[in-house]
Amino acid sequence: MASVDQTQLFEFLCRMGDNTLVLGHRVSEWCGHAPVLEEDIALANTALDLIGQTQMWLGYAGDVEGKGRTADDLAMLRDVWDFRNVLLVEQPNGDFGQTMMRQFLFDAWHLAMLKALTASSNEQIAAIAAKSVKEVQYHVERSGDTVIGLGDGTSESHKRMQDALNLLWPYVGEMFVADAVDDAMAQAGIAPDLASLRAEFDAHVGGVLAEATLTIPDGKFTHKGGKSGFQHSEHLGHLLTQMQWLQRAYPGATW
């Protein structure tokens, strides 16, 4: 394994873990409120997978950092500016269509990323990716089928899905924009060149959205600032307020 700056490796692992943590949290907000019982079960299952992946990514991040922080410390005791998830996953659930569109767009990237990470020069990352990729393969099949079903459903469901796509598309680009951390990971063979994932993503997403009779919006504009931590949306702070409350209110307690 080529040597890599451990701070940058820590940063990369937080990006992976924060994506799954924040999206897992968002999806778990649906519990008990889904449109049909089968969706309640499936959403809980997805959230459960994502939280499990978080434990692996952030657990390893804590090891790499070497300051004794656990996955729970990283999840529960960092503030907004320390989070490294992409903006897409912190966006509010909205209606069920918006939730599933967000899920599909993330899943399609996540699958391509994890597939590439199974060949990582870092054995631990390759192992986490190998375990996660099986779960995410199922996530994307399900979210893709739902996007197709609702896009090509009634006129109302079609409109809602198109609205969701219009709202969320400008958050897609951030997943593919590489910075110094990504470049360092790529050079060390730890992670793929992010731009190289785009073609697979476009083919996959394009196919599903076409079958869903949905139109990808024009325009290349991309919101940024989540994975660098420079500028999250206002939504993340509220999410953390809820997620971290117990740990913050009773510091040092064991649960």
């Binding site: 949290h25 778990s28 907000e29 049909v36 019982l37 959230a47 459960l48 009634t154 064991t254």
Partner: protein, 325 residues
């Protein structure tokens, strides 16, 4: 106990058929959906299994209330898995009820407009993290008391559903107790939280078994049909006898000054819950009845476009498939 106050239906079937049916039950045979059964047996079971299923569904809400605030990733995952199990229990119970000739959508509509009930316990609020422990320990504990004997119930699909449900419920109860242990052994604030949760959930848990047998007029027929396996008082006594030592082990105090061991009966004497409160909760006046039903109605109403959309897509797809053939 997730089905309470189930009124058993009077039945006016052919006496010979009834006698043969009763003989099958007495011989320990299982009744299957296509078998002949008395009208009253069918109606009572629909009500009981339906109420049980609804309890699982509404029961997602008080625990779902804490998923986004769970204190650690592991606790969050365990709670998610538990609530997911409950939705799964709802699913197979609805399937069991559907074999009796009522659809899940019909039962859902009856829940949402108040014609069918769910267990009174889910109308109490979950206010602290310790409540996640108390619900697992006490509420699932009480449910298991009822459901273990129901594994031997006469209706095959219900019996098989209970066998599966019980495996998961006993796991839930252990998880709940594990939360209580951590809290009881934790900081003074955590211990106070645990005691507070026990104080609030003790009597509502006792109410889960339903009113005393002397006030329960519907038990005899259901017991003869093996739809109900034990009396309410038997199960309540068993629950108290099991739970009191567990509370002592935690170092928590059961909120009942009259609680004493009765050597003669080999069980505890304990105070009855406030049955007026119970009937108020059943009537819709519990602390969370309005919120629980509003949440289920909102999920159903907001989800209509989704269900319609997916159905429309399935129809389009089957038309396209036929056209292509």
């Amino acid at each position: 106990m997730y089905a309470q106050m189930i009124k058993s239906e009077a039945t006016q079937d052919d006496p010979e058929k009834l006698a043969a049916f009763q003989a099958r039950i007495d011989a320990g045979e299982k009744i299957e959906p296509k078998d002949w059964m008395p009208v009253g047996y069918r109606k009572t079971l629909i009500r009981q299994i339906g109420q049980h299923a609804h309890s699982e569904i509404v029961g997602q809400l008080p625990e779902g209330n804490w998923i986004t605030r769970a204190p650690t990733l592991e606790r969050k995952a365990i709670l998610l898995a538990k609530v997911q199990d409950e939705a799964g229990h709802g699913l197979y119970l609805y399937c069991a009820a559907e074999t009796l000739g009522v659809s899940r959508d019909e039962m859902t509509e009856m829940l949402l407009d108040g014609r069918m009930k769910y267990s009174s316990i889910f109308n109490y609020p979950t206010l602290t993290w310790a409540d996640m422990g108390a619900v697992g320990w006490l509420v699932d504990g009480a449910a298991i008391m009822n459901q273990v004997p129901l594994q031997r119930t006469s209706f095959g699909p219900y019996s098989r559903a209970m066998i599966r449900v019980c495996k998961e419920e006993s796991f839930h109860q252990r998880q709940g107790y594990d939360i209580m242990m951590k809290m009881a052994q934790g900081t003074p604030e955590q211990k106070a939280m645990a005691q507070n949760a026990l104080n609030r959930f003790w009597y509502p848990s006792l109410m889960m078994f339903g009113p005393s047998d002397k006030d329960s007029v519907h038990s005899a027929q259901s017991m003869a049909w093996k739809i109900k396996m034990n009396t309410n008082d038997e199960l309540r006594q068993k629950f108290v006898d099991q739970t009191v030592p567990q509370a002592e082990y935690l170092g928590l105090t059961v909120p009942d000054d009259t609680l004493t061991w009765n050597e003669e009966k080999g069980g505890y004497d304990f105070a009855e819950p406030d049955w007026d409160e119970f009937f108020e909760v059943i009537q819709g006046n519990g602390p969370c009845n309005t919120e629980r039903l509003a949440a289920r109605n909102k999920a159903w109403d907001d989800g209509k476009w989704v269900r319609d959309g997916l159905l429309a897509h399935a129809e389009k797809r089957s038309i396209r498939k036929v056209a292509a053939e």
